[in-house]
């Protein structure tokens, strides 16, 4: 039987029970009494800073007051009105850098109202109790193509369906959900939540999903533009940036996003191989998710190697602490110089020209993702250029989410962009502009 000391890649380094415990909910859901106590701490601030800090502008004080008065379903409705993926966002939002950072009690006491957990309490309550809470408006007779079934695409599709249009979503993968389904650490979305949320969202009706359809090969923008009244592109970033060092093609080197996706789709955690000594290159949430999960699978040593200092790391201090608490080592100001057999050579970026070597039977690349195809649209940097309404350089084509310019690459930002583009598509089609 393999264990944490087994060299090379090995599956089942930990027992089944330990794996199960490791990948359980990162934060247990609040029970009703805990929710009442947590809600009681909200001051119901005027023009509340938490609302401003939320990319989807959820009316946080209102939904918390609704929880406090025993109407969590009404609270959920307040959330979903702004963010139809409020259930997932409650789990994956870096609240510590968004709403909870802005909470006046964070400034006053260093202890914000637990907005994320309260949001989960409300959305879970409604989703467990009630079928889909929205109804569609009268048919507009319009047909809209959405490419990409991730957060931006789903949010746009839901809003358009609600406003009365018929939507077809195309997605390259075998399953809808995008990064919610494939790109987020398992302990943030337990019990197949992403898939359940998609099913629940589709309860509005009027949305068809076609999987296995990739823009550029199976679909062309010209055809979509001809067949539909409008097109919303939310294809995400499918490519992974290369390290461009010797040894990058070694068998132990792979993309962190694939590892995270495989883990999410695995029916048996004990079947997933992981190295004994794992090194993750990068400094974002993907790096942390890959590193923490490697550790939870039973890797003995896991190191995140980041080329800049801690203050530049895009993973929040909270995420850094999470990694450290799970036993992940954080190395700063180092970048890969070469990957050898069973070893990685890192060079310090502090001008010292020194290098260090770490044992590494598995190396994950998490240094950012890139657009796979520009579909002939104007770019802004390396992303599809869009205006504040999500309009691209081509008439009748909108884009949002990670593939489009502007915004942080967060689930919640993608939802906001999808929702707002949908409103603009609707206004444009109905106004005949």
């Amino acid at each position: 039987m393999p264990d944490t000391t087994t060299p090379g890649l090995a599956a089942a380094r930990l027992g089944r029970d330990e794996l199960k415990a490791n990948f359980a909910d990162l934060h247990e859901p609040l029970d009703p009494h805990e929710a009442a106590v947590a809600a009681d701490r909200c001051y119901f601030c005027y023009d509340a800073p938490c609302i401003t800090a939320c990319p989807t502008s959820i009316d946080i004080p209102l939904f918390i007051r609704q929880i406090a008065t025993g109407t969590s379903e009404a609270a959920a409705k307040t959330i979903f009105d702004q963010n139809i993926l409020g259930g997932m966002c409650a789990r994956v939002c870096p609240t510590e850098t968004l709403c909870e950072e802005a909470c006046v009690r964070e400034a006053a006491e260093g202890k914000p109202v637990e907005i994320g957990r309260l949001q989960r309490h409300a959305t879970d309550t409604l989703m467990a109790k009630q079928a889909h809470p929205y109804v569609r408006a009268a048919s507009t007779g319009k047909k809209i193509a959405v490419v990409g079934a991730g957060p931006a695409g789903l949010a746009a599709a839901h809003r358009l369906a609600m406003l009365g249009s018929d939507v077809t979503i195309y997605d390259a993968r075998s399953k809808a959900g995008g990064l919610n389904e494939f790109g987020i650490a398992s302990y943030k979305s337990t019990n197949d939540f992403a898939a359940r949320e998609v099913d629940w969202l589709l309860g509005i009706g009027g949305i068809t999903i076609q999987t296995g359809k990739t823009l550029g090969s199976d679909l062309s923008l010209d055809e979509l533009s001809t067949d539909y009244d409008a097109v919303f592109l939310a294809v995400g970033l499918g490519g992974v940036n290369a390290l461009s060092v010797d040894g990058e093609d070694n068998s132990g080197v792979s993309d962190a996003v694939d590892f995270i996706g495989d883990l999410r789709q695995a029916s048996e955690l004990a079947s997933l191989p992981v190295g004994r000594d794992v090194v993750v290159i990068g400094g974002g949430m993907t790096a942390v998710d890959a590193a923490v999960q490697s550790k939870l699978l039973g890797a003995r040593n896991v190191t995140i190697a980041y080329r800049r200092g801690r203050d530049r790391m895009s993973a929040s201090p909270y995420e850094q602490e999470l990694a450290a608490s799970k036993g992940v080592q954080l190395l700063f100001n180092v970048q890969p110089a070469a990957i050898h057999d069973g070893e990685i050579e890192l060079a310090y970026t502090d001008g010292s020209h020194e290098t260090l070597r770490l044992p590494a039977d598995q190396v994950f690349k998490a240094i950012g993702q890139t657009l796979v195809t520009d579909a002939g649209l104007a770019l802004d940097g390396r992303k599809i250029a869009v205006d504040p309404n999500g309009r691209t350089s081509r008439k009748g084509v909108w884009a949002g989410g990670d593939c489009a310019s502007g915004g942080d690459d967060l689930t919640v930002t993608a939802v906001a962009e999808g929702r707002d583009a949908a409103m603009d598509i609707h206004a444009t089609l109905m106004g005949g502009k």
């Binding site: 701490r41 004080p61 609704q66 009404a74």
Partner: protein
């Protein structure tokens, strides 16, 4: 989807949530903000007679009682009626009513107990287009020293007299706002009814001193070292208000008299409780003053959700439904026997139930060396104190005994027959149950 539309005395409003006559309704600016926020109606802050307006103190007008974490539980005020000229208020009321025809605007009034004073002001109020008037017979501070407010509300004959004048000189609904600073609220309510009042609203604020500064030895709020009793309101007064409302609702003399419920309404649930006790609508002040006008959104969504869950389509489906269940003590079923049950799974072993029961009640809870707390059925009278002091919701519950079981405290078999004090053998005035 529940319909929250309210029809109170023929006055329509999109929901039953009105702002009470108080500082939040003193000016056009505030009232417009209230309507934009979604309030169904307002009772404009009390107008006085023409001439130089009253003046207010220039120090603190409010004092407060807090729960932990400074949650405001009770507020007291020594503010008087509007200190702005009558004409200004009337012009503003006219403008706002014209701009918000779907919202209710009631004008609160307080002028001296002289027929001419009322005869003078009522046509001016009628000209504003407001939907009705509310007679402020409740303010317990300042104005009462001048023979108005609570000074009128404490004399049923005055209430009846002034109400009659108002019905004589004014065509639209007349609501009489009652003071709680009396011994039996049924008397002023009946007097208002005799005078022809279309409705009563209650409660106005309660005489109070919120605290005493132990350095300056001045009551709070302190004006240059002195304090005066103010009117108490907010969540703390709700139980008092609900009792008074229920007394009027179930009193045969006043049963059916429309009531506008006031007193600590903070959430949809408070409103639903007042309405279940017979109030056609509710008025809110302290909650708005504490949290802003936006709270009405929670009241609307909460009442709507609850009505949907219960299958109530309109407000009148549940208004007054609890009134038949308010009764005299002597009619409570003495054969109803319950026992406390402590859920060991939920118990956090704090021992508060034990302290309460052992020190102050019936020694009906046992405590083991390893802090297991259990109810002793042979001692438990089901007083509910352990439930009330337990910090864990639903950890201790009161479970009724079934008919046929033997109550270990009395040794008697539990009966499912209804039997009350009027027929109890211990009652010297017991009457035969025929």
């Amino acid at each position: 989807m529940a319909d929250l539309t309210s029809d109170f005395l023929g006055i329509k409003s999109p929901n039953p949530f009105w702002l009470a006559s108080a500082p939040p309704t003193d000016k056009e600016y505030n009232v417009r903000r209230a309507f934009e926020a979604g309030w169904g109606g307002v009772v404009w802050k009390t107008l006085g007679m023409e001439g130089p307006p009253v003046v207010n103190v220039n120090g603190p007008r409010y004092g407060a009682i807090y729960g932990a974490d400074r949650r405001l539980m009770g507020l007291n005020n020594i503010e008087l009626i509007t200190d702005r000229p009558l004409e200004v208020n009337l012009e503003e009321i006219t403008r706002v009513k014209a701009d918000y025809p779907d919202r209710a605007i009631i004008v609160s009034l307080m002028v001296p107990c002289e027929e001419q004073a009322w005869k003078d002001i009522l046509p001016k109020v009628a000209a504003t287009g407001a939907d009705g008037i509310e007679l402020n017979f409740g303010c317990p501070h300042g104005m009462s020293e001048r023979g108005m407010g609570a000074a009128v509300g404490q004399v049923p004959e005055y209430i009846e007299m002034v109400t009659r004048w108002c019905k004589q000189y004014y065509d639209k609904p007349v609501i009489v706002k009652l003071t709680p600073n009396i011994t039996d609220v049924r008397k002023p309510a009946a007097a208002a009814m005799r005078g022809g009042a279309d409705a009563v609203s209650l409660i106005n604020t309660i005489n109070s001193i919120t605290s005493v500064n132990l350095d300056s030895m001045s009551p709070e709020p302190s004006i240059d070292g002195k304090g005066s009793h103010g009117g108490y309101c907010g969540p703390a007064v709700k139980p008092i208000a609900m009792s008074m409302v229920s007394e009027i609702a179930r009193n045969p003399d006043t049963h059916g008299l429309p009531i506008s419920g006031i007193g600590g309404v903070t959430t949809w649930r408070d409103a639903a409780e007042f309405m279940a006790l017979g109030c056609g609508n509710v008025q809110v002040c302290t909650a708005a003053m504490t949290y802003g006008f936006k709270i009405v959104e929670e009241m609307i969504s909460g009442l709507s959700q609850w009505m949907d869950e219960k299958g109530y389509e309109n407000l009148h489906d549940f208004v007054g439904m609890a009134v038949p269940n308010v009764t005299d003590w002597k009619y409570l079923n003495l054969n109803y026997i319950a026992k406390a049950v402590i859920s060991q799974d939920d118990c956090i072993k704090c021992g508060r139930c034990y302290a309460a029961c052992e020190d102050t009640s019936h020694q009906a809870i046992s405590m083991s060396a390893d802090r297991v707390f259990e109810v002793i059925d042979a001692e438990c009278v089901a007083c509910n104190l352990c439930v009330d002091v337990c910090p864990v919701q639903d950890c201790i519950s009161m479970v009724p005994m079934k008919a046929g079981e033997v109550d270990p405290r009395t040794g008697k078999v539990v009966s499912d027959d209804y039997a009350n004090w009027t027929t109890h053998p211990n009652n010297p005035g017991a009457v035969a149950a025929e």
